[in-house]
Homo-oligomer: 410 residues x 2
């Protein structure tokens, strides 16, 4: 008998009918002999409804009270799902974040989980009950209600699985797994049976929105096997787990893309130690996150520094950079909002040479010019003109043998 | 500087505009130098919306989970009111029943308050904050969320006032006080400045729906001065307090009526000890509450027993009574749903003779036949045909000098 944590998002519990379907699915799992803990989000639309109420009173509602407000969304769902389970003959009990004692720090609206006291949950499981836990919420050391920020229910599920030493944490979503590329762009993309935490982390941070990054980090840290499945159709989904040496390892797990970035360049900066800090310090101070950074030193003792930021931050970053350029006596500032980032991801590339050149060749064959390059141990990202997004993703998907029916890549 | 507990019901917080109006009122009280604790209900309609969700899943939703569900209604209001207060510049903090630690028994949906740990609330008041507390809810000894049943927010307010030794508990409603009779029936009815707990208790239990009975009992037990006021217009309202010997005491505080009763008679029961129990036992076993009971022994060694029940329970009670009649060899069962109860209430009648006869005379003058009579120390109730409701109330209101402009009665 295993212990399974299942997590259902807002769309999966978006109506009474869907809540009943979730209850049926939970009961099916229970009847195969497993203990089940279910983590749920607020019904879809509910969080926005509550936010609208708060915003009707204040342009910037106090964060503590916003958490008191928003946490009711999941509390409604746990009660309804428990009622549905019991109506179908399955004994069940609901717990809020406070009742489980999901202890967080006091960063309202974006709290981090510090500890989980699973005693109440374990006791209920021993009594044969399905335990339904409110995602997204906890309490701080002083008993204040906190929330983990949007998507925090994934993190709750993984943290519960870690605390209870669950055998698997199943995340039910509206997609049936993790794909080698976005199927809307690459019709030949296929579902991965298995992917490592590291690869998933790169996929997630590079724009694949299947899972919240924090939940994948958490799962990797505590070695919680994580499975992404569809709430609406049956299937094995994708298992996210520790890298398995024994397995035949695909060279590249998938192709990710991100169209949310914009590029900024400060040109002709007098080259001396500390200039990167002088340029990026004011950007960081303005709470703008910088992704890729590239610096080239020219022959004339000046340097160009290029970096990417979220498109929403582009205008703000551009203003700051122009002020910095003036102060430093730089030649000027360029920028481009019409870029995208394409990435190939795979733990297999650690042990193989020539992956980067294969990538660059595939793009060159299509006449795609590369503007920036950034690499890590298990991924290579390039920035290209946004008009090449679909063409580039398809070229890479094909070049690394990921197209359905073309067999194993490598 | 006094400590005031204010309670606002669902209508008073039924929209964002009304929540802002409540915030303004709270701030006005605060600015006169008082500490303020505010107890709020769910926004009007919200509790029914949540109940409908639960009933969409189960004809009889599990009570524990229903409380988890319903308690979110007040939690939404405390967050919104705190946001509104802070937006208007008044520091405020919200607490759920669990956060205050309003300890109740485990009777879900109708829990009773056992204890309140006001430490958190007191601390927040010391910090200059307005404290906003969720009405209607608490937790039991095991940390389960409980609710006090409909109208329970009044009880929360009084219990908070008792625990904090507040100087006054103000209940804001949609009426501006307690009246000598229902103004819709008696246009000459006037607002009472003051009424004793005992009188209010009789008024409430006899059909005046201004306050929940339990909250008045609670206030009387802990000597919490209770004031009923309007949320929508200014005014002194009615103060409910200990009986004040020094005050000139009105003979009769008011005239109450109750149209929710029905009358049942079992006729010709062989008279022997224990028959009242044999007749009323099965009624009580069916969870039917009996109000008035009258028994007459006839000359033929048989007796008639008449009692009243809530109209909703009439059919059920009638069935039970017919079975009992058969078993006991009684002559038969009569019933009447078309009755009302009229009552005069006043602590002043303790020290005055002749009140009853004055009441009966007033009714007789109007040709109203009395079907049953029941008395307590501070009230006299009669059952009459429902067609006499308005006529009877007006006759009594006038007979005891309560009509506006006719001066003090007695």
């Amino acid at each position: 008998m295993a212990l399974i944590v299942q997590k259902y998002g807002g769309t999966s519990v978006g109506s009474l009918e869907r809540i009943q379907a979730v209850a049926d699915r939970v009961i099916r799992t229970r009847r195969t002999g497993h203990d089940v803990v279910v983590v749920v989000s607020a019904m879809s639309g509910e969080t926005d409804r509550l936010l609208d109420l708060a915003r009707g009173l204040s342009g910037r509602p106090i964060e503590r009270e916003l958490d008191v407000l928003l946490s009711t969304g999941e509390q409604v769902t746990i009660a309804l799902l428990s009622i549905a389970l019991q109506e179908k003959g399955q004994d069940a009990v609901s717990f809020t974040g406070a009742q489980v004692r999901i202890l967080t720090d006091s960063a309202f609206n974006k709290a981090r989980i510090l500890d989980i006291d699973g005693a109440q949950v374990r006791k209920a499981l021993t009594e044969g009950k399905v335990v339904v836990v409110a995602g997204f919420q906890g309490i701080d050391g002083e008993g204040n209600i906190t929330t983990l920020g949007r998507g925090g229910s994934d993190t709750t599920a993984v943290a519960m699985a870690a605390a209870l030493k669950a055998d698997e944490c199943s995340i039910y979503t509206d997609v049936d797994g993790v794909y080698t590329a976005d199927p809307r762009i690459v019709p030949e993309a296929s579902r991965l049976d298995r992917i490592s935490y590291e690869e998933m982390l790169e996929m997630a941070s590079l724009g694949s929105k299947v899972l919240q990054i924090r939940s994948v980090e958490f799962a990797g840290k505590y070695h919680v096997p994580l499975r992404v499945l569809s709430s609406f159709k049956d299937g094995p989904g994708t298992l996210i787990t520790d890298e398995d040496e024994a397995m035949e390892q695909a060279l590249i797990a998938g192709i990710a893309h991100n169209r949310d970035e914009a590029k900024l360049t400060i040109v002709g900066v007098p080259d001396r130690p500390g200039i990167a800090h002088s340029i990026l310090g004011p950007i960081a101070d303005a709470n703008i996150e910088v992704d890729m950074i590239v610096q080239n030193v020219g022959a004339d003792k000046t340097t160009d520094l290029t970096f990417t930021v979220h498109r929403n931050d582009y205008d703000k970053a551009h203003d700051i950079l122009q002020r910095t350029a003036k102060e430093m006596g730089a030649k000027g500032v360029n920028g481009d909002k019409r870029i995208v980032k394409l990435s190939i991801i795979g733990v297999g590339m650690r042990s193989h040479a020539g992956i980067a050149s294969r990538m660059f060749k595939a793009l060159a064959n299509e006449g795609i010019n590369i503007q920036m390059i950034s690499t890590s141990e298990i991924k290579i990202s390039v920035v290209v003109d946004e008009k090449y997004l679909e063409l580039g993703v398809r070229a890479l998907h094909s070049a690394f043998g990921l197209d359905k029916g073309t067999g194993k890549n490598g």
